[in-house]
């Protein structure tokens, strides 16, 4: 959530996750922000960190993709390979 990420639309994405937690009954998830990791061309980026597992990094996430991450990854544990960045 640095200026570059916000310009790329990270606030909207953050909103989707926040809504899912406050209204959508998504429990057991802690939402946090971070600074710029330097991947300006792939922003907004989202990281899913799960205890005991390697973090998953997604790039170019918009509102729709965020919703899909919630449905598929956070709720069902499915990693969406196509959006992963390395």
């Amino acid at each position: 959530m640095a200026t570059c990420e916000i310009a790329a639309g990270s606030k909207d994405v953050m909103e989707v996750f926040r809504d899912a937690i406050t209204k959508g009954g998504l429990t057991d998830v802690y939402l946090s922000q971070k600074g710029c990791a330097g991947r300006c061309n792939l922003e907004p980026t989202v990281e899913v960190v799960e205890v005991g597992k390697n973090p998953i990094r997604y790039g170019k996430i918009n509102k729709e993709r965020a919703q899909e991450i919630i449905e598929r990854h956070l709720k069902k544990g499915e990693v969406i390979r196509e959006w992963i960045i390395d």
Binding site: A2, T3, C4, I6, S32, Q33, K34, G35, C36, A37, G38, R39, C40, N41, V49, G52, K53, N54, P55, I56, R57, V79, R81, I84, I85, D86
Partner: protein, 596 residues
Amino acid sequence: MVDEYVVTICKGTGCIQKDSTRLLNVLKEQLRNDPLEQKVRLSLSGCLGMCDKGPIMVVNPGYTIYGGVTEEDIPEIIDQHLRKGQPIARLAIQEDHLFNRFYRVFGDAKFFGRQMRIALRNCGIIDPESIDDYLSLRGYEALAKVLTDMKPEEVIEQVKKSCLRGRGGAGFPTGTKWEFTARAGEGDKYVICNADEGDPGAFMDRSAIEGDPHSVIEGMIVGGYAIGAKKGIVYIRAEYPLAIRRLERAIADARQHGFLGEDILYSGFSFDIEIRLGAGAFVCGEETALIHSIEGARGMPRPRPPYPSVSGLFGRPTLINNVETWANIPVIIMDGADWFSTIGTEKSKGTKVFALAGNVVNTGLIEVPMGTSLREIIYDIGGGIPGGKAFKAVQTGGPSGGCLPAEFLDTPVDYESLSQAGSIMGSGGMIVMDEDSCMVDIAKFFLEFTQNESCGKCTPCREGTKRMLEILTRITQGQGQQGDIEKLERLGDMIKRASLCGLGQSAPNPVLSTIKNFREEYEEHIKQKKCRARTCSNLLTYEITDDCVGCGACRKACPVKAIKGTAKNKHIIDQETCIRCGVCFTTCKFDAIVKS
């Protein structure tokens, strides 16, 4: 990725010498046809800074570090750790370096592979608005160490020993600066953080403050303790609202936790920081102009000496360093000057942050050890030039720097090598240009910027840059004259030597370096009135090809009615009337207009 384990092998110079590459191959070989092969990903990392214990292998998740790994250890690592999930205590080493935090979090990162993150160690890792996040990564531990275990002289000695040089661009030895300020007598002294980042396309300082404001604050407090100052000021551009907000928040949090204010950590040392906003004048990044601006005067430079370390803010000794320089300080204190000085080249130690921009696949913010070549930065980290186009030049140092062509791609990035090649390190802007960039136009762009930003105090800069810009504009408009190049060179040389401050002294650099490296392009513009990159629109002719469907869009868009034609028939541009504005070219939806 989605793999269960990520095994990272250090590919720093030290570990390569200890055959870390072979280790990777052996591991790969033994995993072949094993069901584990699908679950384990192997990756290489840049120097992990534990060279004495190499070769180093890191297994994530869990961030287990194995040191001194040999070929014979591989089967055990595979069986015990990767198959049964039991880390091997015999090989594990405990290291808690402050830098390269992302390996702890991610375990791997292709993009980060050749990078080494010291100043940006926490950026993208922690929540910048949470002091607890910073504390959890040993934040403010350097401050505690300095206040309890070290005398001010010892701190300065450490910084001197680290050979850290100013990251704002000039590369003055930081420790020496600290020493001068410390020795400049008793009484009030000031510490300033220069966050007036103004180079077009550069955003290193903004990201550093937005991503990890506490590192900068911690560095400043340590600096204040070392030189005996009680007051620090962050001078930051008002155009960085988010950075300012996070910095304010961080300062307030630090105060609340007792890291700022009276009697810090019950040591008897008091120090506080306030923020001053710059109004956006580029020249205020120059230290004496910046000090004038804080004093409430007009932001104009003054001759040096006296240097700010003797007579700075309000005539008092002042220590002024760049954001990135400050962010390096906690690492030097915690990981040690000896360690720090092993990174980089002989005369340039540590790392440098660059804002990679322009015609490059991975635009973004990177931090590499000094001595990394431009080629490695542009191709290995930056991913090369998009669209299969050819590399033409790289511009470092923003409006004060120069353009380097392909033959300089193997130049190592350090202060001396870059200036020898005809550019400068600068604050970290790095703009990559492909074959479609016109070098005359680029030079004009940067000169336009410095000309606008010239404060007007000294004649060479005020008048000289104006005249140079006039000549350049003429050349790009097809009115270049024989002798223009020589005139530019003479003027440029004069401005460099006679200007008062860094702005004027470096303003001709983009022009002089492009003349030096791309002289033939200037000559083409002047003699043949030709722009090979097809950028200078006044030198182009526009023509309509047979692809024209006769939609009439260009005819309607043309401001001088130079396009004739009837519906559904091919249109024609009247070259006499055409003013070469290029509107038709951008309007056409059928790519039926060509520039030549």
